[in-house]
């Protein structure tokens, strides 16, 4: 009858930012711009009842509820990207062409329980 204690806030599902500089990976001689990229990722848990606030949809709320009742039978919902952004990269290719390329779904902006 008593809801389990909620984990510490920094352990619940949320985006984590990670910036990678192209100079660090040795690609700064052929990538003109930008200087690096965001390799954000989602991490954290989706426990009951917090799942109701973590950008969760109904099935995830039900799943977290069932996990709280029978953890062995039902796993917790997953913390995954739910909003992504594209990036554009300007670089030289092997043919000495200058290339501007657009990449979809490259940066994680938001995470949610699913």
């Amino acid at each position: 009858a008593v809801a389990p204690a909620a984990p510490a806030p920094d352990r619940v599902c949320r985006p984590h930012q990670l910036y990678v500089s192209f100079r660090d990976v040795g690609w700064h001689d052929w990538i003109i711009a930008p200087r690096g990229f965001m390799a954000n990722y989602c991490r954290g848990s989706c426990p009951f009842p917090l799942a109701t606030q973590l950008n969760s949809v109904n099935h995830a709320i039900l799943q977290s509820l069932m996990h709280s009742v029978a953890p062995a039978q039902t796993p917790l919902p997953c913390c995954i990207p739910i909003r992504l952004s594209p990036i554009s990269v300007l670089f030289y290719d092997n043919g000495d062409n200058v290339v501007l390329r657009h990449y979809e779904d490259m940066v994680v902006d938001e995470c949610g329980c699913r």
């Binding site: 990678v20 192209f22 660090d24 990976v25 040795g26 690609w27 001689d29 052929w30 003109i32 711009a33 930008p34 739910i82 909003r83 952004s85 594209p86 990036i87 554009s88 990269v89 300007l90 670089f91 030289y92 290719d93 092997n94 043919g95 000495d96 062409n97 200058v98 290339v99 501007l100 390329r101 657009h102 990449y103 979809e104 490259m106 902006d109």
Partner: protein, 253 residues
């Protein structure tokens, strides 16, 4: 990240580097021979794409909510065509000085070679534009009326130079040289093999600049000399990679 991700140290690429390059549509890190100045157009397109991305983030609405139409993810607004890859391909033909008339009324005959092997077969060309830059204007200023451009498909490399006769060429277009302009754009999409997808791996063209001065050889020579310019060419190619561009999801009504 460990330095082994890129090519900071000699040796094979790390699996992570291979995966990231593949995500960028590349098989290995390019090794440009010498960094070239970045064309202003591509800088402008890059900055505009950054502004668009920042604006899209600021106006982010919750998922599924009604709101203004999303910006086209794979559309080059400034050029007005769909596409997610913009390349500026340098000309590898020899340079030519325009004050040395080839054969009146022909002022100049310039071979144009473009290496298009970097394009993947599944990339669909949506813009192929030949950009001609006439060198710094002489005292006479930009060219006046009476000039004409002729662009042909060159014979294959095996014929060029030894047996290349004009009838081996396939005329693609002729048009007056727009008076008063130093930069000329010729749209080649749908001309000859350039309209076909995939594009040829090598595109060989011949550009001729003629001056119609009424058959007067001396007039032509003087006109050619008056042009006194160098001519540089590059090819702007915009392509759409269908697997990397999903159509814009229609909003629920």
């Amino acid at each position: 990240l460990t330095p082994g991700l890129g090519r900071a140290q000699p040796g094979p690429l790390s699996p992570q580097a291979v995966a990231l390059l593949r995500a960028l549509g590349l098989s290995e890190p390019p090794a440009p021979r010498q960094p070239r100045p970045v064309p202003p157009l591509l800088w402008r397109l890059f900055r505009k794409s950054q502004e668009k991305l920042a604006a899209a983030k600021e106006t982010q609405e919750p998922e599924g909510a009604e709101g203004p139409e999303q910006a086209q993810p794979c559309h080059v607004e400034e050029l007005g065509v769909p596409g997610n890859i913009v390349r500026l391909v340098p000309d590898r033909g020899g340079s030519v000085q325009l004050e040395e008339p080839a054969l009146p009324p022909l002022c100049a005959e310039k071979p144009l070679f473009f290496n298009l092997s970097a394009l993947a077969p599944e990339e669909q060309p949506t813009l192929v534009r030949l950009e001609l830059h006439l060198g710094p204007a002489g005292a006479q200023g930009p060219p006046g009326p009476g000039w004409e451009l002729s662009l042909s498909l060159a014979p294959g490399p095996q014929l060029w130079g030894r047996q290349a006769h004009w009838h081996h060429r396939q005329l693609l277009l002729t048009q007056p040289l727009p008076p008063g302009r130093d930069t000329i754009h010729l749209d080649l999409l749908d001309l000859g093999p350039v309209g076909a997808s995939p594009l040829p791996r090598n595109l060989s063209l011949v550009l001729e600049i003629l001056h119609g001065s009424g058959g007067d050889g001396n007039g032509t020579e003087a006109a050619c000399a008056s042009l006194g310019r160098s001519l540089e060419a590059s090819l702007l190619v915009v392509t759409l990679h269908p697997q990397q561009c999903r159509p814009v999801a229609r909003r629920r009504r």
